[in-house]
Symmetry: C2
Subunit: 162 residues, 2 copies
DNA sequence: TGAAATAGTACTAATCTCGTCCTATATAGA
DNA sequence: TCTATATAGGACGAGATTAGTACTATTTCA
């Protein structure tokens, strides 16, 4: 399995919860409310929200009646941004980052340039999916044809799936 | 960072090393030779090769003058297969697999179906790149345009990059 | 028959992540 | 102005996972 940390998973759930009621009366969510809705422990929720805040994906209001809300419209936040905020730069291996000195093979690594490209491919795939796509669930059958190949269009379903 | 295990990284290097000389006189590679070429410790190389063998990506010959070679042509082995062989099914989170009972939120998880789709997108991206593409290095500028968007064609460069 | 290579299993140490706790700071309302 | 409530930030320990190693069995060529 390509490992995406649990905290990143939580982040996707929390961002979806916030985005779902964005624009409604209750556009400000406290960490406590989000913990209840998402059924996640409060300290953990608080931690994730803080990281999303520091990455500029959320804005916060302190004090009584404080809380968190999206920094931008859900249509303008990609999964790549959320993942990057919680996992760091999107790369499949350390060799794919710009940081040097992490790998003994660096000077003559036979596939370094290719790894960077592989990471770009994955990154590009995540950049195509927006937070709003998670609120309005994607249609599974729409993006995968009978041969298992991806088709460019992304469809929606009318109601909540599952 | 989306975590891909070191062993998977090694696997990509080793598969590339083997594919590079496929069809030539020395089409059979011992674990020892591959360890020297890849600069990786022999026991680790041996371990990775065994896993690739069990997944059917390599064939082996025992005894003196034994070694490993590709089970199929490099053009017919995708990165998705190599990654799957060493990481298990390609999924970004445990919730994305078909195994149930791993997550408390399972019954009412708000984004489960979407996570499966996200995994499909990443998987699809890896299926498009073949082992032969790693031997014949991909052209970075060819798959990414000025806007950072991916373009479908994949180009090659004449010599080794880097 | 012996040398060399793979096959399989088990184990240990290190690393990393997750979840939690504590204290400081800011804000709205009484 | 004071208090309750919420975020901000840092630190820490338990747990799980992975990486790497070691050992033994099996196979094959000379």
């Amino acid at each position: 399995m390509i490992r995406l940390g649990k905290l990143t998973d939580y982040g996707l759930v929390l961002m979806t919860c916030i985005a779902r009621t964005q624009g409604q009366t209750a556009s400000l969510h406290t960490a406590r409310d989000l913990a209840l809705v998402s059924r996640l422990p409060l300290p953990t929720v608080s931690k994730v929200l803080k990281e999303l805040l520091q990455s500029g994906l959320l804005v916060s209001h302190r004090g009584i009646k404080g809380g968190y809300s999206l920094a931008r419209d859900a249509h303008e936040i990609s999964l790549a941004e959320i993942v990057s905020a919680l996992e760091g730069p999107i790369a499949l291996t350390e060799c794919s980052t710009d940081i040097s000195g992490l790998c003994d093979l660096e000077r003559c690594c036979p596939i370094k340039s290719n790894q960077q490209i592989i990471s770009q491919i994955v990154k590009g795939a995540l950049e195509k999916v927006m937070l709003s796509d998670l609120v309005q669930p994607l249609q599974l059958t729409a993006i995968k044809d009978a041969n298992g190949k991806l088709v460019p269009t992304i469809g929606y379903v009318s109601g909540r799936m599952q």
